[in-house]
C-alpha cells in the first residue's frame, strides 16, 4: 500500500511539474511575441493566411516564399499560418489571430463588415478588377449534347432537369456567389432546377475542375484564372460552356491594429514586387498576378450588393 501511494505521488508530482514547465515555456513564446496594441507600438511579428481555394500543398509552398520575402523587406518576422477554410480566414483576421489575409471578393466584404470597418483593402491584383467565372462541362456530356455552349445562360432554362451541377466553396466569389447570381438572373434556380440540388465541390476550384473532368458531375462553375493555368489534358476533358461578365474579386485585406506605418510598408512591399527579379516574378506567377495594385474598399461595394441581394433560400431550404 505504501509503495503504491508513494509511486503515485511521484507520478503526480512529475505530471504537475511537467505541466507547469510546459505552460511556462509557452509563456516564453508569448513574451517573445510582443503584443501589438493599437498601433502605438509596432508589432514584431505579422501573421497572415490565404484562403485555401486551390491546391493546399502548393499554396503552403507559395505562401512560405512570400513570408520569407516580406520578412526581409519589412524587417519584421512575417509568419504564414494555414487555414482550413475561408470562414477561418475571416474570423482569424477579426479575432486578432491574423494580421493580413488574402481573401476572395465576398470574404473581403465579410471581413470589412464583421470588423465594423477595422479591416481595409491593402492591395489587389491587376486581374481582379476584371475577374470572371467560367461555367465548364464534362467533355462526354458536351459531345452527347447533354450540355451546350452558350453566350446567354437563359438559353439553359428548362434544359437543366437531368444535369448534375457543382459550385465551388460556398464562400467563394467566383465559384459560388457570382455563378449563383448569374444563374438566378437567367431565371434558373440552382437548388430546384438541376437534377440534384447544386453541390459544393471539395478542394477549391481544382475540386470543381476534377469533378467535371472525371464526370462525377456534368457541369460546374469556377475561377477563370485557375482554369486557364490548369493542364491542357484536364481542360480538354472539361471545356468552357459560358463566361460570366466581369466583376471585382480577390484582395489582400489588413486589420488596423497593424498600425499605419507598418501597413504602408507592407503595401509598398506588395506593390513593389518586381517582374525583373526572378524570385519576385515567381511569387507573382503563383498568385496569377501581373502585379499587385493599390485599391479602395469602395471598389468591392458591388460585390457586397450582390451578396446582400442574393436570395438566401439555399441556406435554409
Amino acid at each position: 500500500m505504501n509503495i503504491k501511494i508513494s509511486t503515485m505521488r511521484v507520478a503526480l508530482a512529475t505530471a504537475v511539474l511537467a505541466v507547469v514547465s510546459t505552460l511556462s515555456s509557452c509563456g516564453d513564446i508569448k513574451a517573445n511575441a510582443n503584443t501589438s496594441g493599437n498601433g502605438a507600438t509596432q508589432p514584431d511579428m505579422l501573421r497572415f493566411s490565404v484562403i485555401p481555394d486551390w491546391n493546399k500543398g502548393k499554396l503552403a509552398i507559395d505562401a512560405k516564399k512570400l513570408a520569407t520575402m516580406l520578412s526581409e523587406k519589412l524587417g519584421v518576422e512575417v509568419r504564414y499560418s494555414p487555414s482550413n477554410d475561408y470562414t477561418a480566414c475571416v474570423n482569424g483576421l477579426i479575432a486578432n489571430k491574423l494580421d493580413f489575409v488574402w481573401l476572395g471578393g465576398k470574404t473581403t466584404c465579410d471581413a470589412i463588415d464583421a470588423s465594423k470597418g477595422s479591416v481595409h483593402v491593402l492591395a489587389t491584383r491587376d486581374i481582379d478588377l476584371h475577374f470572371k467565372s467560367y461555367f465548364i462541362g464534362n467533355a462526354d456530356a458536351v459531345a452527347s449534347g447533354k450540355v451546350t455552349t452558350t453566350t446567354d445562360l437563359s438559353a439553359w432554362q428548362g434544359k437543366t432537369a437531368d444535369l448534375r451541377f457543382t459550385f465551388g466553396d460556398v464562400n467563394s466569389t467566383s465559384g459560388h456567389l457570382m455563378p449563383r447570381h448569374f444563374l438566378v438572373q437567367a431565371g434558373i434556380d440552382p437548388d430546384k432546377d438541376f437534377k440534384s440540388a447544386a453541390g459544393y465541390a471539395q478542394g477549391g476550384h481544382s475540386g470543381t475542375l476534377k469533378s467535371v473532368a472525371s464526370g462525377s458531375v456534368d457541369c460546374g462553375a469556377l475561377n477563370f484564372a485557375y482554369y486557364d493555368k490548369a493542364p491542357a489534358e484536364e481542360k480538354a476533358k472539361a471545356p468552357i460552356l459560358f463566361t460570366t461578365p466581369d466583376y471585382v474579386d480577390y484582395a489582400w485585406a489588413v486589420h488596423d491594429r497593424v498600425g499605419k506605418d507598418l501597413i504602408a510598408k507592407l503595401q509598398k512591399a506588395l506593390l513593389g514586387l518586381d517582374r525583373s527579379n526572378p524570385d519576385e516574378a515567381a511569387i507573382l506567377d503563383s498568385w496569377s498576378a501581373g502585379a499587385f495594385l493599390a485599391a479602395k474598399d469602395e471598389q468591392w461595394h458591388a460585390i457586397r450588393e450582390v451578396r446582400d441581394s442574393l436570395p438566401k433560400g439555399f441556406l435554409t431550404k
Binding site: A95, V170, S196, S211, L315
Partner: protein, 554 residues
Amino acid sequence: MRTMLVVLALVVLSLWALPIDLSAVSSWQGLSKSFGRLSDYFAVFAPDLSSEMLSRCGVLAIDTVAVALLGTAIGLLLAYPLAVGACRAIMLADGGPCSGWARWSARIVLEASRLLLDALRGVPDFMWAVLLASITGLSPVTGVLAIAISVAGIFGKVLSEQWDNVANESYVSLRSTGASRLQVFLYGVQPLGARTMMSFILMRTECAIRNASVIGVVGGGGLGVGLWDEYTDGNWPGVATVLLTLLAVTASADLAANFVRRRLRIDPNHPSSTRALDRKATARRRSQILGGVAVVLLGCLWWLREPMGTALDELSRIEWSFVKPYTLGLFQPTLSAATWLTVLRESVVPLAIGVLATVGGALLAALLVYPASIAFQIDSSRFTGERVSPLTRGARIATVMLARAIALVMRGIPEVGWLVVLIVFFGSGVTPCIIAIVLHTAGVLHRVFTESLDDVPYQRLERIGAGRFSTYAYGALPSAWANWRTYVFFQFEVNMRIGVALGVVGAGGLGLYFKNNLAWREHGNAAAFLWGMILLTVAVDRLSRYLQLKRNRC
C-alpha cells in the same frame, strides 16, 4: 419477428428518403467507367513512399496518437467532478444534507451536472472541433479539446450511472463507521466500479485514436488533416500513404487494446489460471502501469508543446469582442418556422444514413462471424465431438486469421478514409457515404459479435449435440443474439452522428447546412441546425434508455 419487420420498414423508408445514385454500378458501362476512375487515380494503389512523405506521415501519426491520448486523459479529469455532481448516491444519499436548503442546493447541482453532461455528449466530437476551430484554429489543440469535451460527457454519464448502480449494502458498513459522504465515495463506491472502468477507458482511448482522424478533417490536426489535404489536392499516391499510415496506427491500437482487454475479461471457455493474491505484486504492477501512463502522457504534452504554446499565445491576444457575439449567437437559434422545418427534414438524412449503414454493416459483420469464431473453427471438437485432421485444423486457423484480418482492415480505416476512395468510384453524394460507414461498421461490429459468440459456454453448445454449423445456427446464435442487438443499436447511434459529420464534407443534411450558414455568417440559422443535431442525439439517446439498452461501446 416484430423487430425484424420494424427494421425492414425503416430500411425501406430510408431508401425512399435518400437520393441514392447507383449509376456507377447499375450498368456495365457505368461499372467499367467507375473502375477506370479508381485505377486511374490510384495507379493500382501505388503509395508515395518518398522519405519526405513518409516522415510527414510519421509526424502526423504521432500527432494523432498524442491528440487522442491527451484528449482522453483531460476528458477523464473533467469527467470525475461532473460525475460526482451527477451521482444521486453521492449528492442525495441518506446521511447527506437533511436540512431543506442544503438538500435543495444538492438537487440543483445534481440536475445541472446531468444537463451539462447531456449537452457535452449531445454535440458530436467533430462538431466541437468545428466550433472550437474558430478560436483555437487549425491545430492539434482543437482536436485535444474536442475529444476531451466529448470524453468528459460520455465518461461523466457512465461513471455516475455506475456509481448509482453500486448496491447500497456494499458500502453501508463503511457508512456505519461514521465516514463522511466523500469518504464513502472514495473508499466504498469508487473502487467497486474500477475494474469495468479500466476496460471502458481502454475502449474509449482506442475510439479516440480513430475519431481523432475524423476530427482532423475539420481542423483538429493529425492524419485526418493530412488525408483531407492530399484528397482535396487530388494527390492520390499521397492519399494512399496517409491511409496506410492511418491503418497502421489504428490497427496497432486495436491489437494492443485487444491484448489488454483479454487480460481484463473473464472468458468462460478459456479460464486463465487464478493468480495467487499477492498484495505487494499487485501494488507494484499498479504503480508500474500508473507510471507508464504518466510517462506516455508527459511525452504527448512534450510532443504538442509547440502548437499548445501557439494556441495559448493566440488566446492571450484574441479580441473577445469578436468571440462574444459568435458564441452567444450559437445559443440564440432563429425562430423562423421555415428554418426549423428544414432542420426537421434534414434530420432525416443522418437518420436514414444511420439506418442503412448500420443494417448493412451488421449483415456484413454477421457473415464474417462464423469463419472468424474460435469456438467454431478451432475449438469445435470440444462440443461437437468431431475429429479434425491436422490439415483441416490448419485450414481453419487460416480462415480465422483471414476473417479477422479483413475485419481489422475494415475498422482500421475510418469512415472518411473509405469515403475518399469510394467517392472516386461512385462520384460524390450520399451513396459513397453510406457504403463507407457500412464497411467501417462491419469491422467494428465484427469484433464484438465474434467476442460475444465465443463467450457462449461450450457446455451449453454440447447439449445441442449437432454438427458445427447447426450448433452455430441453433445454439450459439440465439444465445448471442440479445448482445448483438444491443451492439447494433449503439452502432446506429454512432453512425447517425457520423452521418452528420460526413454531411459537412459532402453528404448533405444538417452538417452541411450548419457549415454553410457559418460561412455566410447567419449565426441564428447555424444555431438552429446545431440545436437540431443536439436534439436528434438526445432523442435517440432517450429512445435507447426507453428500450433499456446499456451503453458500453463507442
